[in-house]
Amino acid sequence: MTAATVDFTALAGKGANPANRPSTSDIPWNKQKTSPLKIVGTVIGYLGMLCLTIFMVLPFVWMFLAAVKPNNEVFMVPFKWLPSVWHWENYINIWTDSNMLTWLGNTVFFAFCVTFLQVFTGSFAAYGFSKIKFPGRNVLFLIYIATMAVPWQAYMIPQYKILSSIHLTDTRWSIILLQAFGAFGVFMMKQFYDTIPEELSEAARLDGLSEWGIYRRIVLPLSGPSIAALGIITFTNTWNDYMGPLMYLRSPSLQTIQLGLKTFISQNSANYAMVMTGSVMSVLPILIVFLIGQKQFVEGIATSGMKG
C-alpha cells in the first residue's frame, strides 16, 4: 500500500493550478538553446497524446453519432461518420420503447442510498479508527485492510447465499447492503482523518466536547473534500455496477440502468441506433457527474489508490 501514502497535495497543486512552477530554466538569462532532440521529444509527446486521445474518444464519438443515425447506416460499408438524417427523436422514443424511466429512477435511488450510507458509516468508523484510542483498534483495522485484498468475485457466492437465506434477493435492500459497507470508504476517510492534527481533537476534548461533538463540529466540517471524493467515487461505482443487480434483481420493476440496458440490447439486437441511444442514456449522466466532480474524483483515487 505504498502509493496509498502518496501526498495528494502534490497532485492537487499541479492539477488545480496548471501554471508551471518557476524553475531555474524559466529565467531568461538561464535559458539554454533548445536542442533539436528536445523538439523531437515534444513533437513525439504531442503525437502520442493525439493518438491516445483518438483511441480514447473515438468509441464515444461513434456511440453518440450512431445513436442518431438511421438504423441502416450504423453498419454501412463503407462506413460514414455522419448520419444522412439526424434522428434526434430517438432520444424521445427511448422513453416509450423501454422502461428507461424506471431504470434511471431505480439507479438514482440506489446510488443515493449507497452513497449516503457509505459516506455516513465510513466517515463514522474512520473517526473511531483515527481519533479514539482503544485496545484492539489496530486489530480491527487490520481486518478491514485484509479483506480489501480479497476480490468480491471470490466471496460473491457465499454472500449471495447469506442474503438469499434471509430472503433479501430481488429486493432493493440487496443492492443497498451489497454496496454500502465496503472497507474502501473507511480506509479512504481514515487516510484523510490521520492528516488532521491530533491537537485539534485533544483541545476540543479538554474543552469538554463529547466525541460526537468533536466529530460533528470539528472533523466533519474539515472533511468536505474527502467526503466529496468518496461520495462521487461511490456514486459512480453504484451507477455502473452490473454484477450486483444481475445476481440479485429479478423483477423488471427493480432493474437498474445497466441491467435494463443489457436486457434492452438483447431484445432489440437489430435496432442498432436505438441500442446506442440507450447506451448514451446510461453513460451521459455519469459523464456529467464526473466532469463536475472531476477534481475530487481524481484526488480521491490518487490518495486511496483503490476502488470499491
Binding site: T2, V6, A10, L11, P18, R21, G45, G48, M49, T53, M56, F60, M63, F75, M76, G122, A125, F129, I132, K133, F134, L140, Y144, T147, A149, V150, P151, Q153, A154, Y155, M156, I157, P158, K161, I162, L177, G185, E202, L206, D207, S210, E211, Y215, N240, Y242, M243, L261, K262, I265, S279, V280, S282, V283, L287, F290, L291, V298, G305, M306, K307
Partner: protein, 307 residues
C-alpha cells in the same frame, strides 16, 4: 498509548482512572465503528470465512450444504473447463498487465510534462473508466463487428483478411484485452501521475546541468524514484486482472467456446447456471488463493524494503 496522560482526562473535570478512560474510549470507539462494522461483518467478513467451508461441500439450489471433504478438489483437477478458465485468466493477465502499465506510464509521463492541453487530456483518458461496462462493451462489440465494423473496415485497407475478432477463438481474447486496456489505462495513469509528482524537480534540474538528457533522466531518476508506486500499481493491476468478470460476461459471455472464459466467470456460471454453489466456491477459493499470493508478495516486498 497515552491513555493515562492528562490530555485525555474526562471533560467534566472529575478524576478518572486510566482504566476508566480506556473503558470509556473503547465504548466510544466501538460506537463509532459499529454502524459500518456490523454491516461489514455480515456482508464481507462472514462470506469470506464461510467460503472456506462451502468450498468443501455439495450445495445445490435447495437444502443445506453437505460436507464432502476433498471431493470438489479432485473434481477441480479433472475439470477441463476449469483448466481453460485458469489458463485464460493467466493469458489475459500476462498480456493485459504489461500493456496497461506501459501505456499508463507513458501517459503519466506526458501529463507530468509541460505540454499544453494536458488537463484536457487527463479528463479524456479518464472517461472510459467511468463509463459503464454494458455500454462500453456494446459499443466495442459493434466496432469489432467482423464484416461491417469500423475496425475491420479500417484494417481492410491494409489486409484482405482482417481478424474475425469476437467470432474467432484466437482473436476474441485480444479484443477483450484491447477493451480492458482502453477502459483501465486512465485509472492507473492517475496513480502513476501521483507518484511522478512526488519526485522533486530539483533532481531533474541538477541532472540537466550535469548534462543528462531526457532519456537518461527517465531511466536514472524517474524509474528508480517511481519504484514504490510502480510496485503498488503492479499489484493492483495484477489482482484486477485476475478478478476480471463483468467485461467478458457482457462482451463475449466467455465465448466463442471457452476462448474468453475466465475464472470469475466460471464461478458465476457454475453457481447461477448450474446451481452448484459448493463447487463454485471451490473455484472461488482458487481465485482467492491467486490474489492472496500476489498480496503476500507485496507484504514481503514492503517488509524487506523497510529493513
Amino acid at each position: 498509548m497515552s491513555v493515562s496522560s492528562p490530555k485525555t482526562k474526562a471533560p467534566k473535570g472529575g478524576k478518572l482512572t486510566a482504566k476508566a478512560i480506556t473503558r470509556r474510549n473503547t465504548i466510544h470507539g466501538l460506537g463509532f465503528i459499529a454502524p459500518n462494522f456490523i454491516g461489514f461483518i455480515f456482508l464481507i467478513l462472514v462470506p469470506v470465512l464461510v467460503l472456506f467451508y462451502i468450498a468443501n461441500t455439495k450445495w445445490s439450489a435447495f437444502g443445506d450444504p453437505k460436507w464432502t471433504g476433498l471431493l470438489n478438489w479432485r473434481r477441480l483437477f479433472k475439470d477441463d473447463v476449469f483448466r481453460a478458465a485458469f489458463v485464460n485468466t493467466i493469458v489475459y493477465s500476462v498480456v493485459h498487465i504489461p500493456l496497461t502499465l506501459a501505456i499508463a506510464f507513458a501517459l503519466a509521463v506526458l501529463l507530468n510534462s509541460k505540454l499544453k492541453f494536458r488537463s484536457f487530456f487527463r479528463t479524456v483518458a479518464f472517461f472510459p473508466y467511468v463509463t459503464s461496462i454494458v455500454a462500453a462493451a456494446q459499443v466495442w462489440n459493434m466496432l469489432f463487428d467482423a464484416k461491417s465494423g469500423v475496425i475491420n473496415q479500417f484494417l481492410g485497407l491494409f489486409t484482405d483478411n482482417p481478424p474475425a475478432w469476437l467470432g474467432s477463438t484466437t482473436w476474441a481474447m485480444p479484443a477483450v484485452i484491447i477493451v480492458a486496456t482502453w477502459r483501465e489505462v486512465g485509472y492507473y495513469m492517475i496513480l502513476l501521475l501521483a507518484g511522478l509528482q512526488t519526485i522533486p524537480t530539483e533532481l531533474y534540474e541538477a541532472s540537466s546541468i550535469d548534462g543528462a538528457n531526457g532519456w537518461k533522466q527517465f531511466w536514472k531518476i524517474t524509474v528508480p524514484c517511481m519504484r514504490p508506486t510502480l510496485f503498488f500499481v503492479l499489484v493492483t493491476l495484477t489482482i484486477g486482472s485476475f478478478k476480471i468478470l463483468d467485461l467478458t460476461l457482457v462482451m463475449t459471455n466467455g465465448g466463442p467456446g471457452t476462448a474468453t472464459l475466465v475464472l470469475a466467470q466460471y464461478v458465476y456460471r457454475v453457481a447461477f447456471e448450474r446451481s452448484d454453489f459448493g463447487y463454485a466456491s471451490t473455484v472461488s477459493l482458487t481465485l482467492f488463493a491467486l490474489c492472496m499470493v500476489v498480496t503476500l508478495i507485496q507484504f514481503w516486498y514492503n517488509n524487506r524494503k523497510e529493513k
